[in-house]
Symmetry: C2
């Protein structure tokens, strides 16, 4: 970027809203962004770095003059600063962490210990807490003092005056309705606080925040000391990341973990090739199954015509059932113990759906026969019956096994969302072939076969 | 439920947290729930009815004595009450709406006009607004008065003193830091308020709330008068509903719109049969394609063995690409105009993935041949090459068309999320067969064919 362009962009960025400034910075390369951010006011630069929508934030900070980088990291919400530290390489991390204010350094070092996707990794340590012997007025005065340095002040945590354990939650909206000299307990929520542990999975954190319509949830240790809070905006970001991950998995691949346009060619291949190859190896069983029925194929080549049609119907019905149950389990609408209730719903559902497809298939063959589009030979009625019955069997099997797969995965300790449409299709394909040829041998035995 | 059980359950419900009470009520049938809710305190009954997690809320309210029902509807957040009115049948709706307080009736009638999934249908009219000539102190006093009747008081909307158009937003956290006799404008946000229109899609509302880390977003008309606000908890609920819908669609069906266990057998069949039959009709083209290559099939029955394997690989790579691009478009990481950038990424990606699968396929045939698992005849090398090349072609075509499908859908005005794994597989299957047989005729022409 030349100097004129640089000055122009710097002035532009100063005038935009934070969200628009982030979008604009995303169009720059990392080196330019690292040079331009320090020309903005510190408050604005920090505001921009705090947005999860900013691409390559860690690389940008690492590319700055360390003095600027440290000033910004000192000012950022420490959950976000921790995210950046997780991404720095060893050298940059060591250099920058040494420059932080002692208190901030300690928080960040603590936050870095929690595994990703847990409450601990999402939480911030910047919350407001007061002892239970304070008054409403003292609490309000305290909030006015610290407001600028706290991620949220809408929930105030009331701690036991002696052991500092979390006792109550006060919302700011209730606090301002209180009398200034009344006890803080006069405006506290009656129910015991809802809390999570630092190792609680982010999906469960999101579920609790949503279930109780909270703006933040406290993260506590075994003796109810608050370690931090997870705020609703972080939960929304985590939910979106989780949904993207689940969508990628359902599509039959490892989640990218980065925007589509940001990921390198090598990573893209790695994320997709693994599952594709695994599915390919599984699907090889179809070649073995076909080999097994080679005699029948040679006798009645007409049977091969319907193989793709019949197999895909099994996969499609399985994909439907799997997507239904993955969501049902994720939303806790269906529990692990409900598997048999689901099974006795999916069996008749699959049979009905299979019958519908079977009738369409029989009609198709009849029309082609009478219209002379294809000559299925003298046994065309038996062939049509074979196709129809096979569809009933395969769609029933597809719906049943597609619905059971997420339960099985959850039961053996995997995420039910690891079940993917291609995975189900592969599972169903081999069995589909066996069902088709078994039906054929039964119906066509003595005539064609 | 007998009278003892009834009294017991009523006492139980009174003691649980709202969220737990909802879960318990979900295990009752509608008639019991309609009898038991009015035995709780009005505040608690309203709290329970306001939770979107409560099943059959409209049926429960409709089943109550109308006096109770009206008292609860009067007390509920009016966006939620509107949702219930949308679900009532004509008779119940007419009877209950007549009983409401005039002001609430007017709001609900207005809210009922907005189409589902828009800002208008999600918004509540219970927000706090003050004229721009008020002081901080007067605003705080006003909030203390109205706090109980407002869904959120964390954002305060400052209206032009003359034309009542929205001019500024003040957050409660900033408000409490202001001097009591200073103008409300002294604590207002500098940027112009971010607003939506009542017809803005809920997905866009969610994106804006998330992008700007807001707790509520104002919904305004053309002259900037506030019609209502959408709060972050409603957005989260809408996001979850939308994700479930997208997951169902990607699984190849119409979204259920209800929890799995709640939906009747007939609706379940309808939601699944439509797409299944449409895909089946599309897939029928594979039978026609096979018919076209029947001569080749008769000459080289060995080619049929690999049909399911090769076709499924095309579908799987297509499903991966589609899931990537659906999410990319939904998160605005990729724009409609980026289609060609995606195309020139997916072509080499597909070729590389196809080459990997092709090499596995060739190795498989070589092992089977040398180990004597199957006799592919004297031309086994040519057969292996056919399978390998066909895989390169089909996986490339699958990745390419799977990635373009969401763009095409968005371009012609559909939701890109309507693209499903089974849909892509069906699209790819017919072309896959044609690619396979074309490669076979090229490689095996003069020998096997």
């Amino acid at each position: 970027m030349n100097i004129n362009r640089f000055t122009f962009e710097s002035a532009e960025l100063a005038g935009l809203s934070i969200a628009d400034a982030v979008e604009r910075l995303n169009t720059f390369d990392v080196d330019d962004a690292a040079l331009i951010l320090p020309t903005l006011s510190l408050e604005r630069a920090i505001g921009i770095l705090e947005q999860p929508e900013l691409h390559n934030a860690a690389e940008i900070v690492a590319g700055m003059d360390p003095g600027h980088a440290i000033r910004m990291l000192n000012g950022m919400a420490n959950d976000r600063a921790t995210d950046l530290f997780q991404e720095f390489n060893e050298t940059v991390r060591a250099q920058l962490i040494a420059g932080l204010d002692a208190k901030i350094r300690a928080s960040i070092q603590k936050l870095m210990h929690y595994p990703p996707d847990t409450a601990g990794s999402l939480m911030t340590t910047e919350f407001v807490s007061v002892p239970s012997n304070w008054t409403v007025g003292a609490t309000l005065a305290h909030i006015r003092d610290v407001e600028r340095s706290r991620e949220t002040v809408y929930a105030i945590y009331v701690l036991d005056a002696k052991d500092r354990a979390l006792r109550h939650v006060v919302t700011l909206r209730r606090l301002i309705t209180g009398e200034a000299d009344a006890s803080i307990l006069s405006v506290a929520q009656k129910d015991a606080p809802i809390t999570v542990s630092p190792l609680t999975d982010q999906e469960e954190v999101a579920r609790l925040i949503r279930r109780h319509d909270m703006l933040a949830i406290p993260v506590v240790d075994d003796s109810l000391h608050i370690l931090g809070i997870v705020t609703v905006d972080d939960v929304i970001d985590a939910m979106i990341a989780e949904n993207t991950e689940d969508a990628h998995k359902f599509g039959g691949m490892e989640s990218l973990g980065k925007p589509y346009m940001q990921i390198g060619f090598g990573s893209m291949i790695r994320k997709r090739a693994g599952w594709l190859a695994a599915l390919f190896l599984g699907e090889m069983l179809t070649a073995s199954a076909m080999q097994y029925y080679e005699m029948e194929l040679e006798k009645a080549i007409v049977l091969t015509l319907f193989i793709p049609l019949i197999m895909s119907s099994g996969g499609n019905s399985g994909s439907q059932a799997t997507s239904l149950l993955i969501r049902g389990l994720a939303l806790h609408e269906v529990r692990l113990g409900d598997w048999w209730r689901v099974a006795i719903r999916e069996l008749p559902t699959g049979m009905t759906l299979g019958t519908i497809l079977g009738l369409i298939g029989i009609t198709r063959i009849a029309i082609w026969h009478y219209a002379g589009f294809y000559d299925y030979g003298e046994h065309w009625v038996l062939i049509a019956i074979t196709v129809g019955l096979a569809l009933v069997g395969i769609v029933t099997f597809g719906s049943f096994s597609g619905s059971m797969l997420p339960f099985i995965l959850q039961r053996i300790g995997f995420d039910p969302a690891s079940a993917s449409a291609p995975f189900v299709a592969t599972l169903v394909d081999v069995t589909g072939l066996i069902i088709y040829f078994s039906v054929a041998m039964f119906v066509l035995g003595g005539t064609l076969l």
